[in-house]
């Protein structure tokens, strides 16, 4: 058959392994069971030496002949099937398309295999973890939700992309930035500045901050997607650029920084190639309002959720350094959070012209 010509990839073999689990178990009259590493705070450890969050060894069993898991098991096999199909066809797709591809009515019933995308997304993550295959390797991409501008040249699908010549908008970071897909042809920048918010990135880009300070400006529009994190990591690793992170002064900003630096709890298994343990927190610090004379009235009162989240952060192993404990406690005691945008209170270009220059000059950052 024509199919024989196709040489299965490593990932495809792993996916077929899911079917083998079922077949072997059935042969032995055992309950088919997949083991999936637990993706929760309880199963991650902070490796202080490496500065990374690592996944623990705890696994959960997902068996078919268990009422609570039967459906999930069935869905897992279905998703594995769809992912294998992608491998064979050598296509990439989105999480949403996987959901539609696997959704159908179960024969002789009115039940759907999946009801919402919320059911298929975690299954894809489960497969990533248990097969030790990266999402990119599974050919699943996320939204292009990041932008980059600065003295760096990429080769994307054979096209040279010079990020100094892309105007204010910059280059939209693809979700898969592995070397096979995107090569860094040249980079003359001195450092990478990763900005939480698109608005502040726009401000810096418009003011050509990157030209003046010879840096690469990156943003992920909120919690940075994998592509942005991976690209920052590659610039850091391959071009040895220091990475500075500029986020809002609130618990969510702190957490974004920590994800960039040590990795996330949910995707702890990917920390190895995503995390940038040497990334620095440049701002907005809870000490800044005083140091930069921001008036109290541009702050926002912490709500209950903020306070609760901040208290959680205080307990995370990777926030145990003394300056960090002080930083978070200072925010809690002030009872206020500050957005980066609040700097505009002093001047529209305050961020570009005063705040960042002074931060960089004074090396005023947290590690």
């Amino acid at each position: 058959m024509a199919k024989k010509a196709h040489k299965p990839t490593v990932v495809e073999k792993k996916l077929v392994g899911v079917a083998d689990v079922v077949i072997t178990a059935a042969e032995k009259r055992k309950d088919p069971t997949l083991t999936i590493p637990v993706r929760a705070l309880s199963n991650v450890t902070f490796n202080e030496r490496k500065g990374l969050i690592e996944m623990g060894k705890r696994k959960q069993a997902r068996s078919f002949f268990n009422m609570a898991m039967a459906k999930k098991f069935m869905q897992t096999v279905l998703v594995a099937d769809a992912l294998a199909e992608l491998q064979r066809a050598n296509l990439t797709t989105s999480l949403r398309e996987i959901y539609y591809r696997t959704k159908h009515t179960i024969k002789n019933s009115h039940e759907n295999t999946l009801d919402t995308q919320d059911e298929s997304d975690p299954i894809i993550e489960d497969l990533e973890v248990s097969l030790a295959a990266l999402r990119e390797e599974l050919h699943v991409r996320a939204e292009n939700a990041g932008s980059i501008v600065g003295p760096v040249v990429f080769v994307d699908d054979g096209d040279r992309v010079d990020c100094t010549r892309l105007g204010k908008g910059g280059y939209s970071v693809p979700s898969i930035v592995e070397p096979e897909y995107l090569q860094i042809a040249r980079c003359t920048a001195d450092f990478v500045l990763l900005v939480e918010k698109g608005t502040q990135w726009n401000r810096l880009s418009e003011d050509k901050f990157w030209r003046r300070y010879n840096c690469v400006l990156l943003t992920g529009n909120g919690q940075p997607p994998r592509g942005v994190r991976r690209l920052a990591r590659r610039l850091h690793e391959e071009k040895s650029l220091p990475v500075y992170v500029l986020v809002d002064n609130d618990p969510w900003g702190y957490y974004i920084y920590s994800v960039i630096k040590q990795g996330s709890i949910n995707l702890a298994f990917e920390s190895q190639r995503m995390a940038i343990p040497k990334a620095k927190f440049i701002g907005l610090s809870s000490a800044d309002p005083e140091a930069y004379g921001l008036p109290r009235n541009v702050g926002i009162k912490l709500n209950e959720k903020d306070t609760a989240r901040a208290k959680e952060l205080l307990n995370y192993n990777w926030f145990q350094k003394k300056p960090w404990q002080e930083e978070i406690k200072r925010m809690l005691s002030s009872g206020l959070k500050y957005e980066l945008d609040a700097l505009a209170n002093k001047d529209f270009q305050y961020l570009t012209k005063r705040y960042l220059p002074r931060k960089l000059k004074e090396k005023d950052w947290l590690d």
């Binding site: 077929v16 077949i23 078919f64």
Partner: protein
């Protein structure tokens, strides 16, 4: 003062000036109003507001009378109701109907026929404190008067008291001025029926199905009177037969004397005047219930009246003192043997027969008292869709799109209200029954309920109030008045029903999930095998894998555990008293046994039925097939 214009107007005014009328002239115009005349003008008070309701009221009054008569005579009622269209319009367009109601009751003696059917406020029930459907002696003669008023046709009656007696055939009308019957024709005829009464009248009406229709009335009457065999010939010519499901007459209610607490001042005065006793204590002890001579003496002392005072001579202030004394003396609650509740078994039988469902239960509360009147509240529930109704709904269901939910069944429960076995079909909002059903927190019993609304779900809530004197909000007897004591009893009865419903729902939920357990693996196995086959590039022996998984599924689920959860191991209907549960596999509980099926068992109900567990499950014919199949499987 007198300008030109004023002068011009003045004479005109003089002619319009109020004419003075002398007392003599007024006196000439003052005369007695006959009751019949009064009701001719105020027919809405008796339920003849509009043609549709009038048709219902005529049927209702005639049927009430027939049933009351049969029960009092100790005869199991056999009633025929026939509504015919007069003229050739289709039933839904017709404006004239002939209503005929025939019973197998004791019949009426010749002399009494004219006044019963053609004299308002004539009857046997008004002067007695006894539970009966009719209370005032207005109903049937008012219906006759309505016929006379709208079509001019007389009421036609045939009655026979026994096989040996002659059958009398009368045509009567009311002389509305005198409130006296006018006999248009009277003859003796040959009649097929050995005993009974048939009344028929031609009226203006409107026949429309649905809420508060004759059809609904008949159906609801059958529920509350399962001991009645009823044949209903609809205006469309269809004959509906409702055979009796319970072959015991309700116990004959006893007549009681009024309880002192229930009496009003005017009534007391009248009784004082009418009594045959010569002493006050004698009057109190003889004419009231629950007043013993010592209690009578105590009342007399409290009222400060002389032991020699003659009841006839107690007026004004003394009477008022007596009235107050009665209220302040502690008197035993009235006897309750004057009541004849329907009974749990009979309600169950009625609901089961008339309403299709999965679960039935009935509660009869112990008697209670409001304003000196004893009463009993009974409640029942018929819940769910019967298995044969439920199936077509699931087969046409379609798979759901994202965000869609499974059939949002926004059907609400329906209340059926009864007073002394008579269905109440109008003014639900004014009725204490509706209020009680709304106030019950059905959520506690596993149903949905929005604020201030009836619970959701296919359910019929049955509430019956039996009393010697049902407090209606109006003469047309449409809604029960709101007394705290009555509301409390209703709430207690409904709560008990709710608790049983909850037990049933829990059990069904368990059975359902076990059932699902069985199915779910089978469904998913199919999916998994197909996916595995694709993963393996289509080279899998699918049948083999499927078989292996299937065997495991059977081993893991099923067997005893599922049977237990489905209640198939004879565990009975959850120990729920007076309940019936219907499942596709059969029927459990106190299923009514039709007279034809097994007379001896029915006669000795409860005791025998509970002695052997086998007897508990008494499947009806429709369930038999399933039961025999099951037995085979077990082997």
């Amino acid at each position: 003062m007198a300008t030109a214009t004023a002068a011009a107007v003045a004479p005109k005014r003089a002619s319009e000036a109020p004419k003075t009328v002398t007392a003599v002239e007024m006196g000439a115009r003052q005369r007695e109003i006959s009751v019949s005349e009064f009701f001719t003008k105020n027919r809405h008070l008796l339920g003849f507001d509009n043609p549709r309701k009038a048709l219902l009221t005529c049927v209702k009054e005639a049927v009430d009378n027939a049933l009351d008569a049969c029960e009092e005579a100790g005869i199991l009622p056999d009633v025929l109701v026939k509504v015919e269209v007069v003229g050739d319009a289709p039933a839904s367009q017709a404006t004239r109907f002939r209503v005929t109601v025939a019973d197998n009751g004791p019949g009426i003696v010749r002399k009494q026929i004219p006044p019963i059917f053609a004299k308002l406020l004539y009857g046997s029930k008004f002067h007695r404190l006894r539970m009966s459907r009719g209370q005032q002696g207005i109903g049937i003669s008012a219906a006759g008067m309505y016929a006379q008023l709208t079509t001019g046709k007389p009421v036609h009656i045939i009655s026979r008291t026994s096989a040996r007696a002659a059958a009398h055939d009368f045509e009567v009308q009311i002389d509305t001025k005198k409130n006296e019957p006018r006999i248009l024709s009277e003859k003796q005829i040959e009649w097929d029926a050995r005993r009974g009464t048939q009344v028929s009248m031609e009226i203006e009406g409107r026949y429309q199905k649905g809420r508060a229709s004759v059809d609904e009335y008949i159906e609801q009457t059958v529920i509350s009177n399962p001991h009645v065999t009823l044949t209903y010939v609809t205006p469309e010519g269809e004959t509906k037969k409702y055979p009796r499901t319970y072959d015991q007459l309700p116990p004959t209610p006893r007549e009681i004397k009024p309880h002192p607490y229930g009496i009003e001042f005017g009534m007391l005065l009248k009784m004082l005047h009418d009594t045959s006793s010569h002493s006050l204590t004698g009057f109190l002890a003889c004419d009231f219930s629950r007043v013993s001579p010592p209690v009578a003496e105590e009342i007399r002392k409290t009222a400060g009246l002389s032991p020699r005072a003659r009841p006839r001579d107690i007026h004004g202030h003394a009477a008022e003192n007596l009235f107050k004394a009665i209220q302040s003396t502690k008197i035993m609650a009235p006897t309750t043997n004057c009541l004849s509740p329907i009974g749990e078994r009979a309600i169950l039988a009625g609901l089961y027969k008339q309403i299709k469902g999965e679960f039935y239960t009935a509660v009869t509360r112990p008697p209670a008292v409001y304003r000196g009147n004893p009463f009993v509240i009974e409640a029942g529930l018929a819940y769910g869709k019967s298995p044969d109704q439920a199936q077509p709904a699931t087969t046409k269901a379609e798979p759901l799109a994202e965000g869609e939910k499974h059939d949002t069944d926004d059907e609400l429960a329906r209340i059926i209200r009864y007073a002394n076995r008579v269905p109440l079909q109008y003014q639900p909002a004014a009725c204490a029954i509706t209020k009680s059903a709304l106030d019950t927190s059905w959520r506690n019993y596993g149903l949905t309920q929005s604020r201030g609304a009836l619970p959701g779900g296919p359910m019929v809530i049955f509430v019956h109030m039996a009393s010697v004197w049902v407090p209606f909000t109006s003469e047309s007897k449409e809604a029960i008045a709101d007394y705290d004591e009555i509301r409390k009893e209703m709430a207690l009865a409904l709560n008990e029903c709710g608790r049983r419903l909850r037990a049933f729902l829990r059990r069904r939920e368990r059975a359902h999930s076990e059932h699902r357990r069985r199915n779910i693996f089978e469904l998913y196995i199919e999916e998994i095998v197909e996916s595995c086959n694709r993963l393996k590039g289509g080279k899998l022996q699918t049948a083999k894998l499927k078989d292996q998984l299937q065997k495991m599924a059977n081993r893991i689920t099923g067997g005893e555990k599922t049977d237990a959860a489905l209640g198939r191991n004879g565990s009975g209907p959850e120990g729920l008293p007076h309940s019936i549960i219907v499942t596709p596999e059969g029927v459990e509980g106190e299923v009514p046994v039709l007279a034809a099926d097994a007379a001896p068992v029915a006669a000795t109900n409860g005791a025998v039925a509970h002695a052997k567990t086998d007897d508990k499950v008494r499947p009806l014919p429709r369930a038999k097939k399933a039961t025999t199949l099951r037995k085979k499987k077990k082997k």
